[in-house]
């Protein structure tokens, strides 16, 4: 359900600072992780309509998550380790 709000395309944002930012951040992370409850998704959708601060947090969290997924090298298992395991198990 992730929408991708853009602060530049919409002029109805009013809140520059979110006094509940710590709690909102947890909900934003849950949405990005795909683990948000319906209430959290609802809260997220509403906030994305009017809270500039939450929108900034959303974009930063999304960017950090995507950087972790795409930029860090995945170490591949050495072929000889696979061979060693199979040899030890005789399979």
């Amino acid at each position: 359900m992730q929408s991708s709000p853009s602060a530049t395309e919409n002029t109805k944002y009013q809140k520059e600072y979110c006094e509940h930012h710590a709690e909102c951040l947890k909900k934003i992370q849950a949405v990005l992780d795909g683990g948000a409850t319906e209430d959290e998704k609802d809260h997220f959708r509403k906030n994305m309509d009017h809270c500039l601060h939450c929108i900034k947090m959303y974009h930063l969290e999304k960017c950090v998550k995507e950087s972790l997924q795409s930029k860090i090298d995945k170490r591949l298992c050495p072929d000889n380790l696979v061979a060693t395991i199979k040899a030890k198990l005789n399979i």
Partner: protein, 209 residues
């Protein structure tokens, strides 16, 4: 902070009932359900131990244990999460004690510290910009991740790199889902602190608009 650790952790996830597999079935499960995850397992082991030799040993030990206790695995269930749990427990029981990493932190102590500071939680949006993170190369992000205490590093690896759900992470780590979420939240705040500090030291543009 106090040095961990307590009793040994039960390494093999308990099944509701054990299954008696034939030799052919055991080999088939091992090859078709366990082996496809070996690259993810190795990557996880490397990110935990930060050492190729230790990662080799940890993955080998995990796969040998998985085969030995294969009757505890229910065919067709989530093999990846089952294997990750064995690997994580083996790491705690066997490797963490002799790890080259200098300081080990106590989960509970760290979480208590962060809980006590939660009321005055730092707002991480004001001093780390999306563009700054986008400009960073993989090694810079990896260095920040590797600098986190292993318990926080673990949840980020499981969630953001391996894509496990909260429910799967709760099973792998043997903690409630609420603890998974709070630990992830704190881990990410720490990671952003590291990225922000690194960005400032490297002269990346910070959010002083």
């Amino acid at each position: 902070m106090s040095v961990i650790m307590s009793e040994e952790i039960e390494e093999i996830p308990l099944a509701a009932s054990e299954t008696s597999y034939s030799d052919t079935e055991r080999n088939d499960i091992f090859n078709r359900e366990f082996m496809p995850h070996i690259n993810s397992m190795y990557n996880f082991a490397f990110r935990l131990t930060m050492d190729e030799d230790d990662a080799n040993d940890l993955v080998q030990d995990t796969y040998l244990k998985a085969f030995r206790f294969i009757s505890s695995f229910e065919r067709g269930t989530n093999a990846k999460a089952w294997l990750f749990r064995i690997l994580k427990n083996s790491f705690i029981n066997d490797y963490r004690k002799r790890s080259k990493e200098p300081s080990k932190v106590d989960y509970q102590e760290v979480e208590t510290t962060y809980n006590s500071e939660e009321a005055a939680e730092v707002d991480h949006t004001t001093d780390l910009r999306v563009e700054t993170v986008q400009d960073m190369i993989g090694d810079e992000v990896a260095t920040a991740l590797n600098s986190l205490p292993v318990d926080f590093r673990t949840v980020i690896i499981l969630c953001d790199i391996e894509g496990f759900t909260y429910e799967e992470m709760a099973k792998i780590l043997d903690i409630p889902i609420g603890t998974v979420r709070s630990r992830l939240h704190r881990a990410r705040n720490l990671l952003k602190d590291k990225l922000r500090t690194y960005a400032a030291s490297m002269g990346y543009d910070t959010d002083e608009e």
